[in-house]
Structures are given as C-alpha cells and as structure tokens.
Symmetry: C2
Subunit: 225 residues, 2 copies
DNA sequence: TTCGACGTTATTGTTGACAATCCTGATAAC
DNA sequence: GTTATCAGGATTGTCAACAATAACGTCGAA
C-alpha cells in the first residue's frame, strides 16, 4: 500500500466527482460558474484526464452543463424543471416507502438510527457538509430497505439532480432542523409499522426544499423566471 | 461540409454508443462477450478515445459491465434483476400513462401513427433493426406526451437497461407482431380518450418480453439461475 | 466615442505513444 | 500426469504534448 496515490483511477474519478458535487450543493460553486479542468486537476492533485471523466459524470447527473469547446458550468435549474423532478421524486419515493416491508428488519432500524445520530450531531454543530452526507446516507438506507435496488438507484439519481437546487436550503439551520425531525419521525413510523404515516412523512419531507428553491428563484428573477 | 468526419465528437460518441446498443439488443453481441476497444475503434473508424466514452455510456446504461484492466463485456441480467427493473418500469409507465392529457393533442396522434406505420412496415418485412428503432421512437413519443421530460428520461433509461434482456424477443416475429398490435391499440385508446384502457395496455405491454426472457434464462441455467 | 477587425490568451479537444495489467500457453519440476 | 512458474502477447490505463476553438482585449477608423 503506497498511500493514496495508488488507487484505481475509477475510484479517484468518483472521489473528484462527489467532491465537486458537494461544492455545488453547498453553494461554494455558484450556478453559471465555470469548471476549469486544469484548476480542478491541480486542486485535487489529479491529471486533467481524471477531471474530465468526473465532469462527464456530473453532466450525466445533471448537475453541470457542457458545451463544445466552452467547457462545463454548474447548471441552473428552472422552477419548472425543479417542479417536474420533485413530482417524479414524490411518486417514486412514495412507491418505495410503500414497498418497505413492515415491520422492518432490526438492522434497518439500527442503521438508520446510527446514521440519524450523525445527522443530528452535524446539524447541532452547524456542519452542513457532514449534514449533507448523513442526509444522503439516511435516504439511501431508508429507501434501500424497499428491496428494489433499481428503484433506489433512480431515487438517488433524482435526488442528485436537484442537489444543485438545494444550495439554498442545505446550509439553512431551519431546514436542517426540520429535516432532522422528519427523519426521527420516519424512524418512529418504521418502529410502529405505521405505513400510512411513513408514506406521508416521505411525501411531505420533499416539499420544503422544493418550495424554498422555487420561491427564492422567483424572487430573484421574477415570476416569469 | 466536409462529410461525416467533421462532426462534434460528442455526436460520434453517441453514435457509437447507440450502434453498440443495437448490436447488443439484437443479439449480435452475446452476453459475456467482450468489447475490445481497438476493434470497435477501427470498425467505426473513430479513435479509441471515443470508443472509451461510448463504453462508459453503455456502462451507465447498465448494458455493459466493466472491470479494471479487463475491459467491458455485455452484461448478463439475472432473472431477479430483470423482474425488479420491470416492476419499476411498470410503475413508472403507468404513472406516465395516467398523466398523458386526454384527449391528446392532434400532433401526438399523428406522430404516433406515423412512427407506428414505420414499425409495422419493419415488422412486416422482418427488419428487426428498424423495428427496434421504431419501437423505441414509439415509446418515447407516447410517454413524451405526459409532459414531464424527467419522467420520460427515466422510463427511457430503464428500457435501455433491459434492452440487453430483449435479444430473445427483439428478433421474434411473434413478439414483434404482438408489440405492433399493442401499439395500434394504444393509439386507439388515445383517440377514444379511454384512459383505463390505455393504462392497462401499457402495463400489459411489458409482460411478454419479461416473461420470455426469464423463462429462457431459467431454461438455460436452471431455476436457481 | 463607438464600432469593428484583428491578434492574443485561456481553455478545451485530440492524438499517439508509453506503461501497467491481465490472460494464455508452454515449459519444467514434482 | 499434474501443478507451478514464467515468458509472450493482447488489452486496457495513463500521460503529456499538440491542435482547435472561443473569449478577451487592443488598436484603428469612422
């Protein structure tokens, strides 16, 4: 093991991609901001080649837009698009929630509880970066319990698509706290095998960030945006 | 215009990717068969670079599997996986069918009719390649009418995932004829604004290829497959 | 002063060569 | 006869230099 450098490049690509994803989600990279390949390469100490693939990945995820000979820029989602994506998310996450076997396996509960502990801690100390990660982990674990990995994969990819739209809420203490409470409530619903409650929670969990994003966008660019 | 060579590479990548997709779907490339980058490069008269990206695309679509330093091979889907994917497809295509505005716009009907004419013609003359293309176009046009491009995109990607599993049915005259009849029936349901019928048709349209694939697989490898 | 042509620079796209890795088959030892 | 070892070839992964392109600023003319 000669340290970090000897990783498979595929791993490095994912590493760079998710690092960039985080920066976009947390708002460190603003919409319309360009992603310069060489800059990123030197910043992460990888070859441009790797950055290229990472950006291609981000493009596939819909976080970034690319045009010939002009490079990539973080993508700006229109309110319409965000609304459409959320409506699909709602349908799919509802579907997944309905398929989670109740009562859940004990491991599911313990895993969720553990992750949510980390999430709550991150929210407590205002660490939006850690909160973001824990939040993703929570949803993966939750929907992962539905037993259909392909459904989970789609839910994940949809969540990633609107990650870019979340820079407005990802750092907001109010929203983070609300998400935390929602998560605990979901765990309770699972424990109680209360499917109706669980589905309802999942559905309503989505609204805040969608509404906040759309509202802030309309405020900035006018209702026509 | 200096001929085909002057295309943007992005376009060539997609071209190669969909050409390979076709070959996989039509069974010209068997499961487990390896995809040699240089071979493909020379076959399509593009650089290896382009092939690489195309294969990455196929990997993302789930048609192909890649391992470090060993390259890509067309992926073999287990019956379980196929079942899972189809169950998500069913949910999503049902959802989309429910969202198609009824009565549909005249353009929708005419577009579908035109595409289906091509499909029927292809089926008639046993041109499975053209039938495959027309089939894809039909479903895109149909679900595209639901008005949510993101939903359509997901439906498309799921269809692509099981394309590999379709090599068993894609060339079968019986299945092609059945698909053709289903399509005509869907158009009729649209014309009649019969939502219930439409949704039912979409749902049942999926079963044959799934069942055929699973059956053939279990026959080949035993129920344990 | 403003507009447009032009050259410069920053950035991306492409290429071929090289390095690393894995598979195959042959040879030799047990 | 079987297994272990090790070349040789085939294939993928990495790289750095080069070409192509678009953004930018400058200069000159109306």
């Amino acid at each position: 093991m000669d340290s970090v450098e000897r990783q498979a490049s595929a791993a490095r690509v994912k590493q760079v991609a998710s690092a960039l994803e985080e920066e976009i989600v947390l708002g460190w990279l603003q919409p319309r901001e360009r992603l310069i390949e060489e800059d990123i390469a030197s910043r992460f100490e990888v070859k441009r080649h790797v950055v290229r693939e990472a950006i291609a990945e981000l493009e596939r995820m819909g976080l970034v837009e690319r045009v010939q000979n002009k490079g990539a820029a973080v993508r700006m989602l229109s309110p319409t698009e965000v609304g459409q994506i959320y409506s699909v998310r709602e349908a799919l996450e509802t579907l997944a929630a309905q398929q989670i076997p109740l009562p859940p396996r004990p491991e599911t509960i313990s895993a969720l509880t553990k992750i949510q502990g980390q999430h709550a801690a991150a929210v407590e100390r205002g660490d939006s970066r850690a909160a973001f990660r824990a939040n993703m982990a929570f949803h993966n674990a939750l929907f992962g319990a539905c037993g259909n990995p392909h459904l989970v994969e789609i839910i994940q990819s949809l969540a990633q698509k609107v990650h870019g739209a979340r820079s407005y809420t990802a750092a907001s203490p109010v929203h983070l706290a609300r998400a935390r409470d929602d998560h605990w409530a979901m765990i309770e619903a699972l424990k109680a095998s209360d499917r109706e409650k669980l589905v309802q929670l999942c559905r309503e969990h989505l609204s805040p960030s969608r509404d906040t994003y759309i509202a802030s966008l309309e405020q900035r660019f006018g209702k026509a945006g």
